[in-house]
Symmetry: D2
Subunit: 422 residues, 4 copies
């Protein structure tokens, strides 16, 4: 077990620096103990903390401590910086110290030199200027062979970033929902959560929007329902209608879902008007209205596959809440929105995981009803939905910005693979 002590100073609580440091330690697989904490009493006083960081792997600990410099946390008991010559023009020595954009100092000959021009992703060069050692940043291309470059983390310290001006530091923070993060791998995390919830006895709610059907995700969601991994489905008239339309007519909002068999069961009933059609959804709604309910449509064989049929067969309850833009609507839709929210409330007891799939209205409605701490995954190609959820108080929602159809395909496959051993 390798150990280092790092020191931090500044507005480390209200600027979130201490929280970020502790988070980085845990994220890297390490652990920490807070040795000393001298918290500024008022909002004007700076604070100080010493944190002992441990890791089983000394190499990982070294990398982790280097990373903490981004937050202004510095290794204690530091020795003089190690200097090595640049091996060629534009090339730094191996193991060079990579800079942050924080105010930085370098220990040379026992004296801390202020770095003249902080800039991220540069190296530190120490040179004689007017007979005295001076430190500056340099981008790689400016290095000349023989320049003395700082190597490693020893002898370098940074100052924690200043508190941003104004009252709201949170307004300056990064968001979870950048689409440039490896979102796809999150399918594995969500799959594990579903399987664990099943084992723990936590109930799982799914909120689904029409794009689940449009993007070809419905068969995969139906598979999850059939597998017993979903306890209740919340949706609107649109999702249910298009799920049924995909089964009966092979289209979603009149758009063909690709070659037969690809997008859904495609039980193209004889005599039904086929072809692309703006009125397909209306014909399906009308027929289900005639039959009286979705359950009746399944019982009579009008609908043979898809998410709604999977719910009916597996006995999974669903709440379809109406909205003012609905066509029809389907007979199962609760058209009074206050009654619909009450119906959703009745199914929330014991829910520990919520999967929100390409839904805005019903996702926010569900978020309003949930207690804090329910694990919530919000899958949408548009990052705005997760932001809206958080803005409205559902801080626990993790935004997964991706194509919901491809995500569900991978989620279903992962669950299949994970369940194999059992």
């Amino acid at each position: 077990m390798a150990t280092e002590i790092v020191d931090i100073e500044g507005h480390i609580v209200d600027s979130l620096i201490l929280a970020k440091v502790l988070d980085a330690v845990v994220a890297a697989g390490g652990d920490y103990r807070v040795l000393d904490l001298d918290l500024g009493r008022s909002s004007r006083d700076p604070s100080r903390a010493a944190v002992e960081v441990t890791h089983t792997d000394p190499d990982r600990l070294r990398a982790l401590v280097a990373e903490l410099a981004v937050h202004g946390a510095n290794r204690r008991h530091t020795a003089d910086a190690t200097l090595a010559p640049a091996p060629a023009d534009g090339v730094a020595p191996s193991g060079f110290h990579a800079t942050t954009n924080l105010p930085t100092q370098v220990l040379v000959g026992g004296r801390w030199l202020e770095v003249a021009n902080p800039e991220m992703d540069c190296v530190l060069v120490v040179a004689d200027v007017d007979g005295a050692a001076a430190a500056r940043t340099a981008p790689l291309h400016r290095l000349r062979a023989g320049d003395r470059v700082v190597v490693g983390e020893a002898g370098v310290r940074t100052t924690a970033p200043p508190r941003p001006p104004g009252p709201h530091p949170f307004a300056f923070m990064t968001s979870a929902v950048s689409s440039e993060k490896p979102q796809a791998n999150l399918a594995a995390r969500v799959a594990a959560e579903l399987v664990t919830a099943r084992a723990d006895g936590r109930r799982v709610a799914v909120v689904a929007g029409p794009a689940v059907v449009h993007t070809g995700g419905a068969p995969h969601l139906a598979a999850l329902v059939a597998r017993g991994l979903v306890d209740v489905v919340f949706a609107g008239n649109g999702f249910a209608t298009h799920d049924l339309e995909a089964q009966v007519l092979g289209t979603s909002l009149g758009v063909a879902l690709g070659p037969p068999g690809a997008g859904g069961g495609l039980g193209l009933a004889a005599g039904t008007a086929g072809g692309p059609g703006h009125s397909n959804h209306l014909r399906v709604i009308n027929e289900v209205r005639r039959l009286g309910s979705i359950a009746a449509a399944v019982a009579t064989g009008y609908v043979t596959g898809g998410v709604m049929a999977a719910c009916v067969r597996a006995g999974v309850p669903f709440v379809l809440a109406g909205s003012v833009r609905d066509d029809g609507p389907l007979p199962d839709v609760i058209t009074d929105v206050v009654a619909a929210a009450d119906a959703m409330r009745a199914h929330l007891e014991g829910v520990g995981v919520v999967l929100m799939l390409a839904s805005t209205l019903h996702a926010i409605a569900t978020g309003n009803l949930l207690p804090a701490g329910v694990a919530t995954y919000c899958v949408d190609i548009n990052p705005a939905v997760a932001t809206k959820l958080a803005d409205r108080g559902s801080h626990q929602a993790l935004g997964i910005v991706t194509d919901v159809g491809l995500f569900l395909e991978r989620l279903a496959r992962t669950v299949e693979d994970q369940a194999m051993p059992a």
Copy 2:
């Protein structure tokens, strides 16, 4: 071969109505002959056209002609509308006529009745009002058992939509890049295009952005390169750096790409600082600068997988164009942007297909250089890129709004499957 004649009248050329009708016919697998066309001479005169529509399947023809009503194209020689009673409250008779939002008339007793209140996705009800027949739209829920409802397409005609006010009707049109369309199935189309291009001797160019790596798509793109389906790669310092970083350190922009083996080759070189790290990309750039080129990095075994290595091994040329935000940059990057564009021009002869993957800057640069008519697919989670391409004159770009990592995974799998028989 079934045949119907439809009539259209109005500003059918400058409001695109005729084009939409012909497009709808072809899209549904039918064919057309323009029998008569009386084009308004000036911008103030309406036009008239008669179009003969044919289809091998009479049922599909019937559905297609019904669909054309959306554009104000009406079946000729129409008989009185067929009326059938609503079988129950809130339920329409089977085969009911579904309305558009256009001005509509119904032929009853040989007289055309104007529909009082056009509204889309309703049914048409004919009733006696003050002793005379009158037609109105009704949403499903307002029907009462016994209401006389129009069934089928006979005896119903619509008027082509008016020219939108102002000079720019195109400003009122639908866009290609809605994320609610079944984008995932487009992978099959792109796969077919790549395989056909190979057979036709058309060259294929790929433009790639860093998110290809961040989202886990790099191994799949590398597979396409290794298979010989890509002739040239255009990218920037960011894409190449993160592709190499993923191979050498298992991270992309310092973010771990999931469990080892999932996101890249993960040839974690002994002695290399591992762990998450904001400076990982800088270390890789520095080492490649030391070695002199990406080709040298592959030759020495520093890089063993990924897209850039696949290019080097398969002899596929690449152009890395610099940008002002670059770190390093890699020695292969052409830092003079005018020279970089010239280098790209030198590779465009014979290019017939371009795949733009999560790239904005390099995608638009490539679009600027391409002749019209080159098949261009723009895959991005953000619809804005395809819109920008079109705004700048690359009208042939088809926007595919999806997760680029999951899309490439499916594209590679589809190509694999299609190539099997050979």
Copy 3:
């Protein structure tokens, strides 16, 4: 009145080329007569058209005809191309011909030379290659002093772009809703539309979302209502609640709307709990529930300003349609969504202009109910809403991508200015 004849050939109807040409003529203030039209009978035959273009200003006509080359429309009876020497390295002669990305030919010595490498935004250079004249494009930077460059439009012709592969050319088109267009000036157009509608007797409906209040637009919308320019308001519980909250407590969703007086009337009733507060909206809802209606809240003086109060005072009806995410709701909200849509239908007769302001759900609901041809302006910072409206059949919706608060401020100011003369 200056006149030119242009010829077009290709798939000019189904690829929209003819429509674009006629649109460009009208947009530039010119007029046209279609002299000849030889329309391909089937979908496989190309078509030909000759169009006479006129403009009162010969200079504008010349610029317009040059512009038509973008669509492959060429001036008839063309003479040899005019050539002029490049005055310096990297500089073209004045009046140079700027290229499109279409296949291009240049008439030199009575012979049409094919341009080797079409590329947009270049110049055309004619040079001797192996004893024969040859034409190629060159970007500006590649010109050398003395190079012979084509000047003006004579002797240059382009070929209309090929029909994009696949059945849906519309999928390849530009969108209306790019945020890079000068959206702000559209305020003047909307203002004129509102004033004209008042004069014409067309009724004006406004659909408003909560962001109208959050962004500070409510006082400006209230001014339009007070001026008598709005005939009916459609909204939800959220908009009405925040409009009232802004008046009573000076906040919107608990966020202070800036310095007192800036965002609303701020009638901070004595004894009311002030300060930022997540429960502010709930307190306002509860009080209006106690009073019984928004009209009662205005009558008792609980609410003194804002959009809802302006409606009550001006006798402008409003429909508040419930949704499943609503808190409370306000007593005026119609919680049954089918009844709410019916209530909206009852107000649509005679509506000729609809202004959709930062609303998604209620905007789409309204779009579903409207007859085609109603002028619809959809103002939102997110281009997705206008795209959704168009996808659902409201093709007449013009997307204005801008900040709704700043837009309403400018709209109200413009209306004020326009109304001055009266």
Copy 4:
């Protein structure tokens, strides 16, 4: 000066709870002293803190302490909850306690009752169940006249939210860049910052993208430059070209900027080809290339207004960094991107405020070069840019999601008003 003590318990540092509490206090105009802090030593131990909150206004303090319940911070020394009867069905008594979604307890008869079903935006009802008092949440509509409802904050406590599962709590946080916040008022804040910077001797850098011109913001930015409020401008070929094009030809990217005089100076030079034109920008570039520089174009009177001319006249330096998509480019553009970044570095000394206006590439490039702590405002209609800046380490960037043209108009007006007294 009113005072209250609040207690917090849980993972209050690494889940950011303490930081949020302190932030909320400062944001509300209050102040704090941390009385006790018992920090969990390791990542598994919960922590405890007592915070003294003060405010000059007792009413504001009461509202503030009520607000802190959202974070699980509870008033100390609490008495029994006050209960009041609901005055009517669906109506709560005045001053009712509004719930959060946290685990909640109510003190009744000296005993803490656990609230059965936490839900946000509800009221708390205490009733006898099987002979014992029990507490539950109720939405307003479920209240019945006479129900005993908790009023005020006394006797209610919440538990801090649990640490989100997984290593990255930051991934669960709200973002700064929601477009639903009152962004427009931020113009006042930015105006104040610019004026203060001038007074403090901090230099101001502006990074501008082409949409500044397209949206009509250029004249307002030029006014800021002319007023001496800008010290250096960073941009690319596109911004400079369209700024000049707007002046010389009255268009931007060939699109007319509205009625003459509205969008720019519109010095339509005699003899210059007018009208809409895809080649307008190219003609302007060519002429400036002929003249040799933007400064020469101003000196010869070819360009008389706009941002670039304002810079030339006021002696404000600018750096135009090339990119691979550039047409031309203008002679002032630095086409080597490494040299361009070095040129930008040379102007950053002393820069204390950066305004990034509708720019992605140049904004991120600038962010890469800036030391931490420089006040950075990122104005864009697309929230993605601010998110990208933060993802890349420019945590201090405040995203302002609005229409840049309208924003600059208001900013210039505000600066004008503020400067009046001087």
